[in-house]
Symmetry: C2
């Protein structure tokens, strides 16, 4: 069973600790704020109040035995940096750390972070993408004039299958998969992905994952 330490139980850290626990990992969740520790007590393997800048406190909780530690401290960069240094000193094999600027990222990497997390920047990049292409939720340039796109199924496709529509023959695009939202969800991501067969019916609200030349994709009906 993978064993993780999540340090800093703000909105990102607490959500991460809970999600990892529900996915079956062993999670020790750490914060110096007792209210936040208490709130997570039944949601993670072990919720502990401690100051992560103290090497002794970390060692006492067995922090050196985890597979990976995630430092989710957001605004207090010095605490974050010192925590990364302590974890490195304890021999934690994999350290993820949150940073808000490129300078902070470089510093944390020099101190020992293996990868940098920036929830707000990552989310801003995705939402900017989605907003700039309202009918295409995600657009990725594949090079050589081809692309893989996610697009909301146009109305003329509803109730039809790839074969009936002639997606390949008539539109020149390849339907790689269909992302269908679980009924209650309106989130930016998630949803079940189906590998469609020649006669899968496309439903309203489906997000189609298509590959084709940029021209073919641009020529698709948009509604």
């Amino acid at each position: 069973t993978p064993k993780f330490a999540v340090i800093g139980l703000g909105r990102f850290g607490s959500r991460l600790a809970i999600t990892l626990t529900r996915s079956g990992a062993e999670v020790i969740a750490v914060d110096r704020d007792p209210k936040l520790v208490e709130a997570l007590r039944d949601e993670v393997t072990l919720a502990v109040r401690l100051d992560s800048t103290s090497e002794d406190a970390l060692r006492a909780q067995g922090m050196q035995k985890v597979d990976a530690a995630i430092v989710a401290i957001g605004e207090d960069f010095e605490s974050s940096a010192l925590t990364v240094a302590q974890l490195k000193g304890l021999g934690v094999p994999c350290i993820y750390a949150r940073a808000e600027t490129p300078v902070q990222s470089r510093i944390l990497e020099k101190i020992g972070a293996n990868a940098i997390i920036n929830p707000e920047s990552e989310a801003a990049a995705r939402w900017a993408h989605r907003l700039m292409l309202p009918n295409l939720r995600q657009y990725v340039e594949l090079g050589e004039g081809h692309s893989l796109i996610h697009t909301v199924a146009p109305v003329v496709f509803h109730g039809k299958s790839p074969l009936e529509l002639g997606l390949r023959a008539k539109y020149g695009v390849n339907l790689v998969a269909i992302q269908r939202a679980p009924t209650a969800s309106k989130s930016a991501d998630g949803g079940v992905v189906y590998v469609p067969t020649a006669d899968t019916r496309i439903e309203p609200g489906d997000v189609l994952i298509l590959v084709g030349s940029n021209k073919s994709l641009a020529d698709l009906p948009t509604d």
Copy 2:
């Protein structure tokens, strides 16, 4: 040109406003904190100090003429809710609003938000996925025993092409695309995606996007 209003210039809002502007949109960035407005002055089309809960202030800045408004206020839920209501009242066609809990999401949707943004939760879900499958950065169940996965190229694949490796013939998997990190980036996402040909060389660090039966994918070399 798409025209956006971004209200609330915290870490997420400011990053979003800047990214949208760089992608070619017209962006009016709003905050009641003059320091944050000043910091964005040269990075967006127009940076304005105002209180978004005031309908007159919003109208005076032409807020009713935008294509979409993004309410990126994080911690002050009442400001966020009232702002959404004002934007709805002004007839803004598309409103995205930030919420931190399911209850807040439902309230904002009832008031008029078309979609909900939760940067920390979205990031936590992605990172939990990535952490649980260290050699598979993203795993999506395609149903019917097949999956689409992103996996770091195993060492035995380095320097070889799909044809030389016999990905289809020998491993029974289909290489949909290769995600290659731009050299300076260690971010969780991003990176250029190539549609590989039979003799594209796989490089160390490449993330391979593969489709195949769960058994074939599980049998791939892991390093």
